[in-house]
């Protein structure tokens, strides 16, 4: 008697992802979709697509979606959640979107403790527009707008959004995870699940930062990219829980 232990979640549509081969955006999509399915909230979920490589993920998530202007997903989510408090509202945003142009919106969604879930994809680069420097680009990392490697004197040291948001009283839950190997993928899923459960309990702003890859713009094979994420990204962006609701503290 065979038992299916893994199959494509109903949280995803049949549409093929538009991501480059080996891009971990896909893994993260799956995790979010599986959580929506498992928590049985697909039918009341409303997601917000960013501007970034994930711009068309309204075609991938099998629930209602709104596509937001670059960086404004948390504001759009606020608009939705305030008028539809019984729905489950989440944003999915890249690091250009969330940590650069959308800084004010994410900080203030946290500040107000909007009861939403934010999935943050930190791939240290602007993927969609062809690999420009992001605020999260590592020092020395070459991108099309830091052709000589990011120079901390000129551009500062990369910004750590989880740490920054964790200082805000309204940020109920903040965790950074990675998907560079199966164990971390499984752990990441637990974080996503928790972030949605917090919303379901009405506890406020929940934020999961993913260390993600951009093999194409990093100029690496998919596996090299995972290795680089593990060796360099996680070094600067430590994984872990930066804030959680008191009742859940371990």
């Amino acid at each position: 008697m065979s038992k299916i232990v893994f199959q494509r979640t109903k949280g995803l549509t049949e549409k093929e992802f538009s991501y480059c081969p080996g891009c971990t955006h896909g893994i993260i999509h799956r995790l979010v979709a599986e959580v929506l399915e498992e928590l049985n909230i697909l039918d009341k979920a409303i997601g917000i697509s960013p501007v970034g490589c994930a711009v068309m993920n309204y075609e991938f998530f099998n629930c209602d979606m709104q596509q937001a202007a670059h960086g404004r997903a948390p504001a759009v989510a606020t608009g939705i959640k305030r008028v539809r408090p019984d729905n489950i509202v989440f944003t999915y945003q890249g690091d250009g979107d969330l940590a650069s142009i959308g800084t004010a919106e994410i900080v203030h969604a946290a500040h107000r403790s909007e009861n939403i879930t934010v999935i943050f994809i930190n791939n240290a680069v602007y993927g969609m527009t062809g690999g420009q420097m992001a605020p999260t680009t590592l020092v020395g990392q070459k991108t099309t707008t830091s052709p000589f490697g990011r120079d901390a004197r000129l551009c500062g040291e990369p910004i750590r959004m989880s740490e920054l948001l964790a200082t805000i009283p309204g940020a109920t839950y903040v965790e950074r995870v990675s998907v560079h190997d199966p164990a971390n993928v499984r752990k990441a899923k637990r974080a996503v699940k928790k972030a949605f459960e917090i919303q379901m309990k009405g506890l406020g702003f929940a934020f999961v930062e993913f260390i993600s890859t951009c093999p194409v713009n990093w100029g690496k094979t998919p596996q090299e990219a995972l290795n680089w994420a593990k060796e360099h990204m996680i070094n600067y962006y430590p994984l872990g829980v930066f804030r959680e609701p008191k009742e859940d503290a371990q």
Partner: protein
């Protein structure tokens, strides 16, 4: 209903509540701050949401979200704040989302001043955002009309699934006049918002709210669909008032506060035996081109009177299409002319016309 004295900003807020507005997102700015302040106080009673956003940019995107979720929603601001909303407004037009946006205009450019102005005419009617789109824009002249127009605006926004702007100046925002907020206004038959993101509730396939069309052929299709909608709006929603047209020698085109001052000027002129008409756009987009067909043959010229250095005059010229000489009178930066100044401008123009 007896009329009550209300401040313009507060009357606008109340009108929105009466129109079933269930959410407001805004950011403080003079001279419109009493509008959000009124809603902060009264929205809860109406079971709606009031939220002060972190910026105008955030506010308009909250409006986008709430509108996309199917709810009647409003924002308000003043000139530089509207400039910041342009991207969001373009997105809403692109995604075909209804909302009412109030612009209580002040002097510009830049930080400018805070006194009444109409210098955002082009910002409003030409779409300061990117791409092929328009917002419907009402420019009422007194509080009763403002209140009525706002109540209709929510219907019009829903009917066409397009943002509607209310373009008033700081004077209308700050003044008090007797107003009946319960006056009946015409209602539109509205389609259900089946496109709204309410969660599928397991009853329908997912929907999405979106302005992205990566395939240019699809984007063109979408733009042409919008263009057809705008054509319909131009056909059906032009609104204007004609005053004193019979036998007029000259027609003044003016809206909002300027129209009121012009009315006084027209009275002064008629005391001197000079007949001048008023063509008052109530919608500034669509501009009431139709009204120009009703300008009688007695008219020898058109004077565009504006609280700016001359912006609506472009639309006057287009509508006039070379038929009559077009002149301009304006005060700007927050200055309001006295009726006598308009009287002089009219006389100067009539004098000039006789010399030609």
């Amino acid at each position: 209903m007896a009329k009550v004295m209300m401040k313009g900003n507060e009357a606008m807020a109340l009108a929105a509540l009466k129109a079933g507005c269930k959410a407001f997102f805004g950011y403080p700015i003079t001279p419109q701050s009493e509008l959000p302040e009124y809603l902060a106080k009264h929205m809860p009673k109406y079971g709606g949401v009031f939220l002060q956003a972190e910026s105008e940019v955030a506010a308009i995107n909250m409006v986008y979200g709430a509108s996309g979720a199917g709810v009647r929603v409003m924002t308000s601001s003043s000139s530089p704040g509207i400039a910041l909303k342009q991207e969001g407004i373009s997105y809403m037009a692109g995604a075909e989302l209804p909302a009412v946006i109030i612009n209580v205009m002040r002097g510009g450019p830049g930080l400018g001043g805070i006194q009444p102005s109409q210098a955002d005419y082009k910002q409003i009617t030409r779409g300061g955002g990117n791409g092929d789109y328009y917002v419907i824009a009402y420019a009422p002249e007194d509080l009763q009309e403002t209140v009525n127009v706002i109540k209709e605006a929510f219907d019009v926004a829903d009917l066409y699934s397009n943002p509607v702007m209310i373009a008033v100046d700081g004077l209308i925002g700050q003044m008090m006049e007797p107003v009946d907020v319960d006056m009946e206004v015409s209602k539109r038959e509205l389609p259900e918002k089946t496109w709204a993101t309410t969660g599928t509730q397991g009853k329908r396939p997912p929907v999405n709210i979106n302005s992205l069309y990566l395939d240019p052929l699809n984007l063109e299709k979408h733009a042409l669909k919008l263009a057809e909608k705008y054509r319909l709006i131009k056909e059906n929603e032009q609104r204007y008032e004609l005053v004193n047209m019979d036998g007029a020698e000259l027609v003044i085109v003016a809206f909002g506060t300027m129209a009121r001052i012009v009315r006084s000027a027209i009275e002064l002129l008629s005391e001197e035996g000079i007949k001048v008409g008023l063509l008052r756009p109530i919608t500034i987009w669509p501009f009431p081109e139709k009204a120009f067909n009703e300008i009688p043959d007695s008219v020898k010229g058109i004077l565009s009177c504006e609280l700016s250095t001359g912006q609506m005059i472009d639309d006057v010229k287009i509508a006039n299409n070379g038929r009559l000489p077009v002149g301009f009178f304006g005060r700007t930066g927050g200055m309001l002319p006295e009726p006598e100044e308009i009287v002089s401008a009219v006389k100067a123009m009539l004098g000039g016309l006789k010399h030609e």
